[in-house]
Symmetry: C2
Subunit: 358 residues, 2 copies
Amino acid sequence: QEKMKIAILPGDGIGPEIVEQAVNVLQALGEKFELETAPVGGAGYAAHGHPLPDGTLKLAKEADAVLFGAVGDYQYDSLERSLRPEQAILGLRKNLGLFANLRPAILYPELAGASTLKPEVVSGLDILIIRELTGDIYFGQPRGVRTAPDGAFKGEREGFDTMRYAESEIRRIAHVAFQAAQKRDKRLTSVDKANVLETFQFWKDIVTEVHKDYPDVALEHMYVDNAAMQLVRAPKKFDVIVTGNMFGDILSDAAAMLTGSIGMLPSASLDANNKGLYEPSHGSAPDIAGKGIANPLATILSAAMMLRFSLDKAEQAERIENAVKQVLAQGLRTADIYEAGTTKVGTKEMGAAVVKAL
Amino acid sequence: QEKMKIAILPGDGIGPEIVEQAVNVLQALGEKFELETAPVGGAGYAAHGHPLPDGTLKLAKEADAVLFGAVGDYQYDSLERSLRPEQAILGLRKNLGLFANLRPAILYPELAGASTLKPEVVSGLDILIIRELTGDIYFGQPRGVRTAPDGAFKGEREGFDTMRYAESEIRRIAHVAFQAAQKRDKRLTSVDKANVLETFQFWKDIVTEVHKDYPDVALEHMYVDNAAMQLVRAPKKFDVIVTGNMFGDILSDAAAMLTGSIGMLPSASLDANNKGLYEPSHGSAPDIAGKGIANPLATILSAAMMLRFSLDKAEQAERIENAVKQVLAQGLRTADIYEAGTTKVGTKEMGAAVVKAL
Ligand SMILES: CC(C)[C@H](C(=O)O)[C@@H](O)C(=O)O
Ligand SMILES: CC(C)[C@H](C(=O)O)[C@@H](O)C(=O)O
């Protein structure tokens, strides 16, 4: 059997520091991986004049999986949009066909105090948000700024975008979601805005059709505004949520913030063959970059997801997840999740503690 | 001076009960209003076969202001979309040109316990969300279900919608928002998704231009996913938020839920001449309709907003707002905001208490 190849894309801000720790953890597993690093985001622009340099995209395509840090930093804010760091993320998603974004929002019992929500509302929270990632208004053509061709503002300048979902796009993400629900509490909430949008009436109809293949899963439909409210009111009522790219962007971040510990949350973005890109749910936090205080656990847990979904090594994934639980139980905390009575550690110490706990 | 005419549209579910109390409060002010009632939503469909009957729309157009209850009930769920109750809301907004939706999210000190968030995070919350209400993907043409004309799914069935904002549409809502901020803490957050959407890059550019007219207001731009997170993390940091129709739908409901007392929150939807439609931020709650337990305060406070914005009677508005504060201080609570140690009252008792406190 060939060695599995992992593309390591550290990116900007705290990206390199946290990815370094995840790489240490991967290397401590005793498996033979081929790791190859390439610049992405601002670092890609700095090295090759583009946030997603050709060589980086090529590496990501060849690899069995991609471990991604984070992108974005102040000095790139004034670049024109097509050169800004976040274009790398959009480019990787589209070029690799990563249509299924899995974002668990889990609150570790030890960290319940970090949430802005009352402990009884969030402690033990364990929901999974599945966001479609290559369709919707993110990529829909046509789009641009033009002279309005019709309507009440005909003749004026206007900005416009197109929301689109094709039947097979909805079907494939629905299958991912129903299958994920089957492995959990067998409850799926499909979030739409069918009362207003044609795209999401269509979405709702197709999800309802796919449901026939999964009679053991309870399906509920919910409007996006109501979903945003229920996430605040009673987030533990959800099991798996599936939604489109735009609504998923908003809801998955809101859900992550409910836990108060976004520094703990991994994510996976998968293609049709379970190849994937794995990244922490948080951003590049340029304000604390280089200080050695960033929390590497979301990235380490992303590496665990990678082992499970793309590298077929569920046992190794569990080893990492248990090691993370252990360091939390030991009372080790980076600054973002620190509370009185626990031990504050830096990025490297936290990574080393996970390696030790393996 | 002519008598001012108010269209009363009670709607469905708890709508009639809560509007009745707001009407009692209006009548207790000692002003001469002409009140005329018409059916809307499911009630409109039941009476005239359409959620927004011609007579109801005519009345709303003639009136100086509209007091609206809520629409929606189980028996109308299976109607085809164009006949469902919520179409009445969309129809009124579009036909009356109600482009500016003002939704305060205020947490009364007495009700801090009702929130799912920790008291220190939300007590004293006082933010104002201004949502554009007649543009965006809500009304943008073209839309529908079709055979995909291009793209990776060409030839397949797809649902699609068009997001659009014209320059003058953005300008006018920006002016409303900056002026509202001037009357408050002089801080405005414009929420967009300029990193992905052309419409919202355009939005951001125009809002930045309009800012030149309001140098005393501090303007900040924030991506919608981050705004959803910051609302959960530190909602009190906001003063005024302005955003588009779709993002506003989601964020204003999330913000309302932060308070834990959505039964307390009014809203105003204004046209270019301060004519407006006023309604509670909550829905028609068919599960508790007719039980006499619904909270009428959001509707009563909506009537206060109506006096302030459309009827030029700010003093009367304040009288009502103070009366509401007084009944809360007296410890009166409807079931939705009840806590041990307070006095539980029904819809009528709460309305009567406000009248008495006037
Ligand atoms: C950076 C941005 C384009 C991206 C998105 O909107 O998808 C980010 O918010 C995310 O959720 O990964
Ligand atoms: C009922 C629905 C069409 C409406 C909307 O999406 O605008 C509602 O959610 C609201 O916010 O008033």
